[in-house]
Each structure stands twice: as C-alpha cells, then as structure tokens.
C-alpha cells in the first residue's frame, strides 16, 4: 500500500515498458484508474493534475507509462492526505481503495516496483 509509507515506489525496469507489442491496454487501464481517482478527488488542484496525468497516459509513448504510474501514486498519496487533514474519512476511504488498486495494477503491469523503507547501511 503506498499510502502512509512515505514514498510511493519506484519504476520496475526488468520488464515491459519499452516493448511495443500490444501493450496499449496498459495505457488504457492506467487512464481508467486515474479517471476513478479524479472522480473521488476533492480538491480542485488534485482534479486538474489528475486530468493532466490521464492525458499523458493516453497520449505519451508507452515508455512513459512507468513515470506516469509513479506520479499517479504521488498524486493519490497527496489526495488521501488532503482528505485526512480535513477529517473527510468518507472521501479518504474511497480514495485509498483506488490508490490500492492503482498500486496493485502498477506492480502487476511491471510499471512499479514495491518501495521499501530505509534500511541501515550494513557491513559489506
């Protein structure tokens, strides 16, 4: 779950993004999830940013999708925090559910790698 972890993941590079194949559907699914998030975002700036990001998902080269996915999670995180700050738990619950779906999709589509909290630098 990206929310509350403090950072939202990183681009997974081991597969996918640069391959042309028939991957248009990844852009489509990402666009759809951004639309869902846009529908439940409560602040105007968030809605505008999500709309802009959605346009990128629909028009940019597939190579750009990992970057769009990362920024989508960052925006989702900020949309969730905004609702929490305002004490709007109903909005938060809706947003967090889509945030989780977005993250799940990003990881399974190879667009994101699960982030991890800081470790201590160990002996090597």
């Amino acid at each position: 779950m990206p929310f509350g972890v403090g950072h939202v993941g990183s681009v997974r590079e081991t597969r996918g993004a640069a391959v042309e194949m028939t991957q248009q559907y990844l852009a489509g699914e990402l666009s759809l999830l951004l639309a869902q998030l846009q529908a439940v975002a409560t602040d105007t700036a968030g809605v505008r940013d999500l709309a802009r990001l959605r346009q990128e998902a629909e028009t940019m080269p597939l190579l750009a999708l990992p970057s769009v996915a990362v920024r989508a999670l960052e925006l989702a995180d900020s949309v969730c925090w905004d609702s929490l700050t305002r004490g709007d738990t109903a909005a938060f619950v809706r947003q967090a559910a889509i945030c989780a779906e977005l993250w799940q999709f990003g990881v399974c589509a190879g667009l994101l790698e699960e982030g991890q909290p800081s470790n201590e630098v160990g002996a090597s």
Partner: protein, 704 residues
C-alpha cells in the same frame, strides 16, 4: 511435462538474456485433437511457398469472388492481399454459420455483477441484432460504404453487434477503449472524421455503475475543437428503459438506440460485397502527443489471417468454449474475441468487468460454470490473479486444453504458475508476440508441434519470417546471444495497410529504417521494422526484450546488466538490484552489484554471498561480481529509475556527475562513504582512469 535435461547455455547467450529455460511438451491428449498436428504444415508455409501459402488461411473464409493476385507488391510497402477477391466480414462471422449452428451460442456474456444473469447470444440472435442495427445505421445514420463510425463502448455485447453491423455495410469502424477519456475519443473522432459516435450510458466496473455517456459530451467538444462535427450520438442503454447517466441527452443529437431500433425490428440488410483490400476498421495506438496513429486493417487479408491463426495457434474448434479475457477496445479483442473466433463459428465468452471482482476466484468460477476450455489473457492479469489468489484456481473444476498469453513478455516463474496452477499441468501455453499494427500473431509456437519454453514466444509463426538486424543493418545470427531489432522480412495478410490519412508516416516509421532500395517492388527489399528488441536462441525461439541493455564486458564476455540484476532478485531478501562495471586489472572490467533489501532484513555477509552465488548459479562463474554492496536505497530519478551512472562513478572513484535532479540526492554521499571507505580499507582503490574509461563510466546507463 518437463524435460530433465540441463539447459545448455553458451557464454554468448548469457551475455544478453536470462538463461534459456527447459522445454515443456504438449500432452498427447492435446496433440490428438489439434488442428495443426501434422509437421507437413511447416513445409506448406515455407518461404518457397510464399505468398501462395496463405491461400490456406483465405480458404477458411467464404468469398463472393476469388482473388486473381495473392499479393500485389506494385506499390511498396502498401501491400495488397487477395486482390480481385470480394467478401463480407459480417457474413463470414455470422450468416454462414446459421445453416448448421443457428441455435449455438456465439457469445456468452457475463455481466460483472454476479446477481445479473449471464446472457447467451446464439448465432441466430446475433444475426438478428446485427441486421437491425445495420438497418438503423444505414437508414437513420445515413451511412454508406467507406464512411467511418467511432465507438466508445465497454465490454458489452452491443460492441461486437455494432462492429459487425458496420462490417455488413462496408462502413469502417473505429472503437476507442471504453475506459479512455472523452478527450482521447474526440481526438480519434476528429482524425477519422467520423460524424457518428456510438456509446453507452453506463457499465459496471468494480461493483459500480460508471457514468459513461458523460464522456460523449467531452468527445464531441474535443472533436469540434479539431474541426469535426459529430452529427449524431447513438446511445445504447446498459439496462433497457433506464438511463444510467446524469449527462442530459442533447435534443437532435443524442438518441437512445433501443428506442430507434423499434423502427427496424425484423430488418434484414444484405451484406455488402467488399473488395478484399477495403478497410474493415481503424485501431488507434497511443504513443504520441501529435496526431493519433490510426492503424487501418483490411477486410480480406486481416480476416483470413485472424481466422488462420485462431485455428492453428489458438486451436479453436467450433465445439470449443473459448474465453479471451481482454477488452475488445484493443487489437487483441478485435482479432481474438470477435473476428477470429466468430469466423470459425465457435462460442466465445465475454466478461464485462475487472478480473478480481468481487474476489480473485471470479475468472475461475466463470470458467468452471461455462465449461471454458481455451483461455487467453495478458501477463499483467496473470500476475494480478497470482498475487491476489495464488491458490484460487485449485478450488474450481474447470479444465483448459489451451492457454494463451499476449501483450508482454512473461517471466518464467509467472509462466510456470500459469502452466502448473491455472492450467493444472494439463494445458498447452501459447506465448505470443505481435502488435496492434500486425493484425495477428507474429511469433509463437504451434501448440501440438513445437514445444513450449517459458519466457520465449517461440519462432516466427507460419508464413512469417522474422530476422534480427543490428544498427548497421547486419543480421544478428540465432544463437549468437546478441540482441537487436526484430523485423519481419516478408509481408503477411494481417499487416495493416497504412496509418489512416498519414501514408508518409507509415513508410517512415515501419519501413524506412531497413529498406534496401526504395525503388524496388520486391518485398525482400522492404523488411518491416517492429520497434522491439529481441534475441534469438539457437533453437530459433525469440525472446522479446524491452530494449537492448547495457552490457559489462568481463574478460571478453558481455554480461547484460538485466541478467545480473534478475539473478540478484531471486535472493529472497533482495528488493532492488543494480549492476555496474568497475575497472579490473586482470579482467579489464568486472561487475559490481548494488542491492537494497526488503523491509525487515538487515545487511549481512551472508546476504552478499547469496547474491554472488545466485549470479554464479544462474549465469556462470564468469559473472561472479567483484563486490556486492548492500545499500539503504538506490539513487533514483523522480520517476524512480535507478541511476546506474551515479553508482558506477562511486565504484570507480570517478565523478558521479550531476545529482541535483535525483529524487534522493542525499543517498549518494552515504553510498560513497560506505563503498569507497570499504574499498580503501581493502586496498581496492583503482589506478587513475584514462579519459576513455572516464567517458565509459559517464555514459554507462545511457539506455535509461
């Protein structure tokens, strides 16, 4: 069944990719019933029989008039297939099956809410709906041959009905994925100059009824901005007599199709006999902020190709129940939900919603209940179902004979879950490589005749002769272990005809790079440039790569960074890995690994050794890293990409370059202190680097 033999991996092969996997062989039960079980088929489709070999695909269709020229190359690379032939795609997908299969289900549509009944649409019912809607489009819509109609429809039966109604009239359809925004739809309307938009009021996704009609208003406005006026918006309703949208219907522009259809009940529209090379549909691809790219697919060549590949590669028989778990809004859905399976007269399952709604057992419940025996989906869906419900398939009593994976390269471990758990070890897997532009499969295995190899799509399909070229236009030989650009040496019937309205872009993107002679009308001079990187093993199987990776040359052995990193990631504790080169007096260059750990794990010598061992085991002793550094985090760009250039600089005591654009510049100093401190303590400080070596480090990671 798995062979016991060790995978033989040359040093050259490991330089570019993961180790070659073992073969899996199809069960005898599958071979016994397969459409293509006689190896003579390879001879029939060999290059010496090209292009006439594709008559075998064309003969699967019913033609109004036979062609006089199988392949016309007079205007390269605008190839024309089956010239002189005439046919109708709607007739081929529906009418001709009525005599024998009138009451058989063409589609079984599964709504997302489990409380709603599954809808079975027989070939007779499909015929009726197509004819009535075609009559509406011709009468009320005033559409004629060659006009374009844009659809913005979700996964509902009205989508194939609309497609086949257009095909019946010779009208070119252009479906925009239902999840796309109204603006994206508007761009495509404008590009195709459609004056009619067909949409729906709403559809279910994740348990919610989504307002879809609202997007039509955005689409019309976006098209208007680009100078194209939509005259009519035709709206299907998800629930008859109920309107699921809050968007008002615009008088004189918006019309409910169910109301209009009352005037066309029982109408029969004679299918228009179309030239084989007439466009059947447009399929837009994203990938540019400039004008969208509408791939124009033909009637005869495309339909023959998807029918042939559905028969031989999907192994579809008329009595099968086939489920392609994709969206018709993409080329996979057009080719392998609608046109291919219907051309063969089979029963196809369509599902409205998301894979894991209301739980990850849903797909397997559907398969069990409907008796699905051929299953087809994308690696993203497979990974998601594996993650959410790894043991769910075992709970259901379905039995697949055949499974397809499409759209992305699939990792061997995911492939094995698909085979062992989803397929219960009983089904063959057909891994496919192709693109929107191609109409149908380009790389795959003939399931009864060619063994499966996890992670490889297989060789070129029947009648398709791929080749890998390097940047110097030289052929990269199979088994050389080198990667390059995968191209197709010959035309095939499913290839798109052009980019709609942009013929110069079609030539420039797909043919210019490797064209040998622009004046030539010989197809051999016009290889098709697919844009994907690939490597071909000695057995002729292709692995599709995202791009050609950075390599580290260790004592003459070129080690791909991706392979080193992939091997490191097999260590349970490792979360991320990056490989970089370091100068080495003995070997010239050596590899060093940087890894970060999953939460809850602490750095230790033991983990370092595990990483080194994993690389040795999976790639070879030559690849053993000089050092494994466990770090708290990798230096990354804001988009999350690991900056190998920076850590390569640290490992070599060289300039790390500009770090101001990093998302986490503070980690650079931590890593430098840690790594260089250790190296000094061990006496591993390298000599002063030459200017060439400094440049090499500077450009390392350039493919990022």
């Amino acid at each position: 069944m798995e062979t016991g033999q060790e995978a033989q991996v040359s040093e050259a092969q490991i330089a570019v990719h993961w180790r070659e996997e073992e073969y899996y062989y199809p069960p005898a039960k599958f071979i016994a019933q397969a459409n293509a079980a006689d190896p003579a088929i390879f001879d029939r489709f060999s290059e010496e029989h090209f292009p006439e070999c594709f008559k075998e695909y064309a003969d699967l269709l019913t033609w109004d008039a036979y062609w006089h020229t199988t392949l016309d190359t007079s205007n390269p690379p605008f190839w024309k297939w089956f010239v002189g032939g005439r046919l109708n795609a709607s007739y081929n997908c529906v009418d001709r099956h009525l005599a024998t299969s009138r009451n058989k289900a063409a589609f079984i549509w599964v709504p997302e809410p489990e409380t709603e009944d599954t809808e079975s649409i027989t070939y007779q019912e499909l015929y009726k709906r197509i004819n009535e809607f075609a009559a509406l489009l011709r009468g009320f819509g005033d559409l004629k041959v060659g006009d374009r109609v844009t659809f913005h429809l979700p996964m509902v039966p009205e989508l194939p009905v609309s497609m086949l109604a257009c095909a019946r009239l010779g009208v070119i359809h252009s479906e925009v994925f239902g999840g796309f925004s109204g603006a994206a739809c508007g761009d495509r309307i404008a590009d195709s100059r459609s004056h009619i938009l067909v949409t729906m009021d709403g559809y279910y996704r994740n348990g919610e009824l989504i307002d879809h009609k609202a997007k039509a208003d955005e689409a019309v406005a976006a098209a208007r901005e680009r100078g194209v006026e939509v005259d009519k918006v035709l709206v299907w309703r998800r629930h008859p007599d109920q309107y699921a949208s809050e968007s008002p219907m615009v008088p004189g522009r918006d019309f409910f199709i169910d109301e209009l259809l009352k005037d066309y009940r029982g109408s029969v529209v004679e299918p228009v006999s179309m030239p084989a090379e007439a466009p059947l549909f447009l399929m837009y691809t994203s990938g540019t902020t400039a004008r969208p790219k509408g791939c124009e697919h033909s009637t005869g060549g495309y339909l023959a190709y998807v029918a042939g590949t559905s028969k031989y590669y999907q192994d579809i028989h008329p009595e099968d129940t086939y489920w392609c778990f994709a969206d018709i809004g993409w080329i996979t859905g057009h080719s392998y939900i609608v046109y291919g399976p219907l051309a063969l007269g089979t029963t196809s399952v369509m599902y409205e919603g998301v894979p894991a709604y209301p739980d990850p057992g849903r797909p397997w419940r559907i398969a069990d209940r409907l008796g699905v025996n051929i299953f087809h989906t994308a690696p993203t869906t497979i990974r998601m179902l594996r993650k959410l419900g790894p043991d769910e398939p075992k709970k259901y009593n379905y039995h697949f004979k055949h499974m397809t994976t499409v759209g992305e390269p699939i990792e061997p471990e995911v492939w094995r879950w698909y085979h062992d758990v989803v397929g219960k070890g009983e089904a063959v897997i057909v891994d496919t490589w192709w693109q929107t532009e191609n109409g149908g499969f380009l790389g795959s295995t003939l399931p009864a005749l060619q063994s499966m190899k996890p992670g490889s799509c297989g060789p070129g399909v029947l009648g398709v002769y791929p080749v890998i070229y390097d940047e110097d236009h030289s052929v990269v030989e199979a088994g050389s272990g080198r990667a390059g650009n995968i191209c197709i040496r010959n035309p095939w019937p499913g290839i798109f005809q052009t980019v709609w309205g942009q013929p110069e872009r079609f030539v420039q993107i797909y043919y210019e790079k490797y064209c040998r002679n622009k004046e030539s009308t010989d197809w051999r001079d016009w290889p098709y440039f697919a844009g994907d990187g690939a490597v071909q093993a000695a057995d002729g199987y292709f692995r599709i790569l995202g791009r050609v990776d950075d390599v580290i040359n260790v004592a003459g052995h070129r080690l791909g960074t991706k392979e080193l990193e992939s091997a490191s990631l097999t260590v349970e504790e490792v979360a991320e890995a990056a490989a970089v080169p370091v100068m080495d007096e003995l070997r010239g260059r050596a590899a060093e690994m940087y890894v970060s750990l999953k939460p809850g794990f602490t750095a230790s010598r033991d983990i370092e050794e595990k990483v080194a061992k994993a690389i040795e085991t999976q790639i070879g002793k030559i690849a053993r890293p000089k050092n494994v550094w466990i770090v708290p985090d990798m230096p990354k760009t804001r988009s999350g990409k690991i900056m190998r250039r920076v850590i390569a600089g640290i490992s070599n005591f060289a300039d790390v370059g500009d770090t101001t654009t990093l998302a986490n510049p503070e980690v650079v100093e931590d890593i430098r202190h840690h790594v260089q401190g250790e190296k000094v303590a061990r006496g591993e400080v390298p000599r002063e680097l030459s200017p060439q070596e400094i440049e090499e480090i500077k450009v390392f990671g350039r493919t990022e």
